[in-house]
Symmetry: C2
Subunit: 339 residues, 2 copies
DNA sequence: GGGTTGTAGTGAAACGTTTCACAGGTGGCA
DNA sequence: TGCCACCTGTGAAACGTTTCACTACAACCC
């Protein structure tokens, strides 16, 4: 019941309080005999360090937090696992928080993480643009690494995948397969990744010799459900106006579109080809195996954590870096009509 | 840079340290004029509470932790979201930790969470059975709620879904559809859920009038990959010996089996029917929409969090409860050959 | 033997809160 | 006027660590 503290351990072992602390933190300063006495006392009393006190005194925590947009999006779970590996190897602990793409929940989480004085923060903010809230972290000495957002900010590191390049890959592939009316499904367009992927696709098509059309189908979110709704829209168009291929801003949307089109009796890829984005594990297991733009997700998490820890160690003279990874197109049946 | 503390705020506002604390914690004790002065000082200095100190003094945290087996398993992400909603409504914060089904990582996470003196712990332990490690939490006054594990333990609450009933549902369904040679794909069998689902299925078949066979295909894990390997085993059997239906311990396995069988040229459900477990979002989007046993996942998380908070409040006179939810069978194409 | 060096262990101070007994001041009431 | 009650605000104590200046003692060297 009563949580034993260092003082009780000291008394029980017949040594001073400072000695117990030394056993815990610098065991080499203590003679083996004394050390053993202390360790025995610790076991006997079931003593466990109080991290609050330790942290209060030390002024720093060994906990790194990652605040993601959606815990149930496989993209983020892989990023988390990459980051986890690095943080744990460094002897720290990674805690995962979820904003659910809700600015208020993001705010709340940031508030509590700042109060906790976490060692550092990996975050994908809900909105792109300026983040005074994150500047507060930096000012307080808590390094922040942006994940898949806001590359190039002068006062923090960032890791991202080149979404413009990803958009290009997808559109070029579809154009090469002979598609001339192409749709882009994604939204909200305020999300930078969505906008970038769209711009990349548009740019790729504009670079082509022959004219290509890129019709925008805006969705309220990046979910399977939103994809189904977009499919309804697509199905409602006359065959001559309907895009013969769509590029979706992520795989959840793509799976939704696939399901929706199938429900409407449209065939993939014969009537409409689909390319998704993220290459989640289930992309290959979809009703029609899904072509997708693959991002090095775990790598993203690993690098983000490494940058964070590096900044956290090199107090003072740290150069912020912006790492950009290149995506890769994985072609499967959903876009392979002409192969 | 220098994180402002309460003392500096007090000085800046021209009041005493205790008054600032009162403004923060019991604003009604402070006159409006003074309160405003203090609030202004707080804003001006960018003061943010130090949770370590607060927690040290208070002896308790407002952070609830959930330690899951696999952050990237959709089952757990839904449980997390359910728990999140409840904890946040209560003004707390939920942090997610991942054991990755590795006992050593579980151990490490538990160590750090105990040091942090979290308010409570929702956990799905890697191994079933006795958990002296968790008893330590309870002894220290940190309530523990088991999620989908170890129902009936006298010193902690638990929430679970009736896996035996789930197994029965699946097997009865397949038997009714006329299958007599049925396979069970799952493992390791040391995982209680796997064993329960198997037992439920076996029991349902034993209750039948006509003899039914339940052949066990053990897998090393509950992943898509393991499912693919199980499919190889199935495909290698002669058609007359091969089960005409398999019940998989979870949907990841089922998707893997589906993929693997298809790759071997076997048709689902014509050659082999499949029933999965969990009804993850992608079950319906699989190459062949997957029949599955659905668990009330978010409900599980919500209830777990509610039990935890209740125990945390009602210090002393709390009755541990064990809530068992009933699963539900969702029939889709993968098992619907005779419909 | 005096001085130096090194090793083991000590205990007070400090980290930033919250709480609590208490002090000053104001107004009401007899 | 004297007493009491009430409202605001005060500042010291306590939470459990880590750190650091310090003591005690032994060993070594000249």
């Amino acid at each position: 019941m009563a949580a034993a503290n260092i003082k009780q351990v000291a008394k029980h072992a017949g040594v001073s309080l400072g000695t117990v602390s030394n056993v815990l933190n610098r065991p080499d300063l203590v003679s083996p005999a004394t050390r053993q006495k202390v360790l025995d006392a610790i076991t006997e009393l079931g003593y466990v360090r109080n991290d609050s006190a330790r942290q209060l005194r030390a002024g720093r925590s060994r906990t790194v937090a990652i605040l993601v947009l959606d815990v149930s999006n496989p993209f983020f779970t892989d990023v988390v696992r990459g980051a986890e590996a690095v943080v744990e190897k460094a002897g720290g602990m990674l805690i995962v928080c979820n904003s659910g793409e809700d600015p208020r929940r993001e705010q709340r989480n940031l508030d509590m993480l700042e109060e906790q004085r976490v060692q550092g923060l990996l975050v994908t903010p809900v909105s792109d643009g300026r983040h005074p809230r994150l500047d507060a972290f930096v000012k307080r000495g808590i390094p922040v690494v942006l994940v898949d957002r806001g590359s190039g900010h002068p006062s923090r590191c960032s890791v991202a995948v080149d979404d413009v390049a990803g958009g290009r890959l997808a559109a070029e592939h579809l154009a090469e397969r002979g598609h001339e009316r192409i749709g882009f499904v994604g939204g909200p367009v305020t999300i930078r990744q969505v906008a970038d992927r769209h711009h990349g696709a548009a740019a790729a098509l504009a670079d082509r010799d022959t004219p290509h059309d890129l019709q925008l189908f805006t969705t309220p979110s990046l979910s399977v459900d939103a994809g189904r709704q977009a499919a309804d829209e697509l199905a409602a168009l006359a065959a001559g106006e309907r895009p013969t291929a769509v590029f979706c801003a992520n795989d959840l949307l793509a799976l939704g579109v696939l399901q929706g089109l199938t429900a409407h009796g449209l065939r993939v890829p014969e009537d409409v080809a689909i390319v998704g984005y993220d290459d989640i594990e289930f992309a290959a297991a979809a009703a029609v195996p899904l072509s997708s733009v693959r991002q090095p997700r775990a790598q993203l998490g690993r690098t983000a954590a490494e940058l964070l820890l590096e900044e956290s160690m090199n107090d003072g003279n740290h150069q912020h870096r912006h790492v950009m990874f290149q995506p890769e197109l994985v072609i499967r049946v959903s876009s392979d009509r002409y192969r």
